[in-house]
């Protein structure tokens, strides 16, 4: 009986997580368009619903009902596989991500994570690495110059930025003496990691920007020179898959930044519920992503590679060495 209850709980959590992640682009696109509008002294969507609140729903219906076009010379199997490959990893990653300790519902303690892996951080980086397959398959299968160029850029970018990203979190792992995200948050109960690891945070966040392919590192879909990058040839619901995956990664990088460097659900001064604290911090980082997008220009391809290999990688290495010396 207990086994069935535990199993049902896990299924319920996974279903809830999938529902949240699938619905996440709705408020995020609205927010992004609103913030973009107000930064540029426009208003953003205003006509569908109150202040355009239903605009994402209308856009979703539009995407669902549009023609799902597959180019003539496309590799049909890979073309259909790519959006799923791009969509699945950001969803799978959230299995390992804790949103808090426990909450008690109807007298039973329910943990706010699906699984507490002891190598959660490794799992996150391993799974998120798979996402690059969706991008490169999508670009290759479409048989279009823009798409291939875009996916080539993305591939190079993702691989070169995953290295400093991986190195940046080693300092955190050294401090917490654990790779479990739960333990990392518990280790930050008194002092957040940002105090000890400002360089690590900087490298992680910049690499996260590149990983999520947001401005200033959105070379893969540089509108000016590549059409839309790897998803140039996608339309309808398959295009929506790529969009959902992009927003899921923005959310993921924000959650990871908060968990690794900003104390997760540990609050300061104001005694709010832990989950609310986490969500507030995550909301701030999501806002930061959008704010960056409408402030900074895009880096050139060689500048991107130079930043990745000549600045971030040495910085993260130095961070590991200094952390090791100071805390040993």
């Amino acid at each position: 009986m207990e086994l069935i209850v535990a199993l049902g709980l896990i299924v319920l959590k996974v279903a809830l997580l999938i529902a949240i992640l699938l619905l996440l682009p709705l408020p995020l696109t609205w927010l992004e368009r609103k913030i973009a509008g107000h930064i540029q002294q426009r208003m953003g969507p205003m006509r569908v619903g109150w202040h355009g609140l239903l605009q994402p729903v209308a856009d979703g219906i539009k995407l669902l009902t549009k023609e799902d076009h597959i180019p003539d010379d496309a590799d049909r199997f890979l073309f259909k596989l790519a959006p799923i490959l791009a969509l699945a990893p950001p969803f799978v990653v959230f299995v390992a991500i804790p949103f808090g300790e426990t909450v008690s519902v109807l007298g039973t303690e329910i943990t706010l994570y699906v699984s507490n892996m002891n190598v959660a951080l490794l799992f996150v980086f391993a799974v998120i690495g798979i996402e690059v397959y969706g991008v490169i398959f999508g670009g290759w299968a479409a048989n279009s110059k823009y798409a291939v160029l875009g996916s080539l850029r993305t591939c190079a970018q993702m691989i070169s930025y995953e290295i400093p990203m991986g190195f940046a979190v080693i300092g955190v792992v050294m401090l917490a003496q654990s790779m479990s995200l739960l333990e990392i948050v518990r280790a930050q109960a008194d002092v957040w990691n940002i105090v000890y690891q400002p360089v690590g945070f900087f490298v992680f966040f910049v690499a996260g920007l590149a990983e999520a392919q947001r401005i200033p590192f959105d070379l893969a879909e540089a509108e000016g020179d590549l059409g839309a990058g790897f998803h140039t040839e996608y339309s309808g619901i398959r295009f929506a898959f790529f969009m959902v995956s992009e927003y899921a990664i923005v959310f993921l990088v924000s959650v990871l930044t908060v968990i690794l460097f900003f104390g997760g659900w540990n609050g300061v001064l104001v005694p709010l519920p832990p989950l609310l604290w986490l969500l507030l911090k995550v909301a701030f980082f999501v806002y930061l992503f959008i704010w960056f997008r409408f402030t900074f220009p895009r880096y050139r391809y060689d500048q991107l590679m130079a930043i990745g290999w000549k600045v971030l990688l040495p910085l993260s290495m130095a961070n590991i060495i200094i952390t090791g010396i100071v805390f040993s």
Binding site: I39, Q41, R42, M43, R47, T295, F296
Partner: protein, 188 residues
């Protein structure tokens, strides 16, 4: 000395992304500034200036008689041949148009008819909202032209738009200088 200090300051600023931070501060300020959008069909609507060439209108004299003498000069000068006038003579021997039709779908709003008219009977007014689903609706006859709004007096103002359903909406009555487009533009 001060030059060297300035350079050191510049390098420190470079290392801590002072330029990026100032850019972020600028966009953050813009985010809370008023937007310049005029929500045209929903709320506000712009009033054109007197020189604006919109929908044609026919005028009457002080006795309420149509001013047009049906000389057909407007029809002659029209570069796209969109005016059709058929005259008649009333019992006093005055010429007036029996039929005065303008095909708005073909009109290019050059205003030559207004310039050519010897009786100041036809002019291009301020109305600009006359889109339609069929081009046959755009052929406007004499009686409709007589009822069209005339030239704007001051112009450049903002009034409530047609689709406006709310009462408490921004309505700027015509300012003497017209609508100040730069009012909400943040300049630093």
């Amino acid at each position: 000395m001060s030059h060297a200090r300035h350079r050191v300051g510049a390098w420190i600023g470079w290392a801590f992304f002072a330029d990026l931070a100032s850019a972020l501060a600028l966009t953050f300020g813009y985010m809370f500034s008023r937007s310049v959008t005029m929500q045209y069909p929903d709320k506000e609507k712009w009033l054109p200036y007197p020189r604006y060439r919109g929908h044609h209108f026919l005028t009457r004299d002080e006795k309420g008689e149509i001013k047009c003498v049906a000389c057909e000069l407007c029809a002659r000068i029209c570069p796209c041949d969109c005016i059709e006038v058929i005259p008649y003579e009333d019992e006093k021997g005055n010429r007036h148009p029996a039929k005065f039709e303008i095909d708005m779908a073909r009109c290019l709003f050059c205003g030559l008819c207004e310039d050519a008219c010897p009786a100041d009977a036809i002019a291009l007014g301020q109305q600009y909202e006359f889109s339609s689903f069929s081009s046959s609706d755009l052929v406007v006859g004499r009686d409709d032209l007589l009822g069209k709004p005339g030239k704007a007096r001051t112009g450049g103002g903002v009034v409530a738009a047609r689709l406006n359903t709310e009462q408490d909406v921004l309505v700027e009555t015509s300012e003497p200088q017209g609508y100040n487009w730069w009012r909400n533009i943040r300049r630093t």
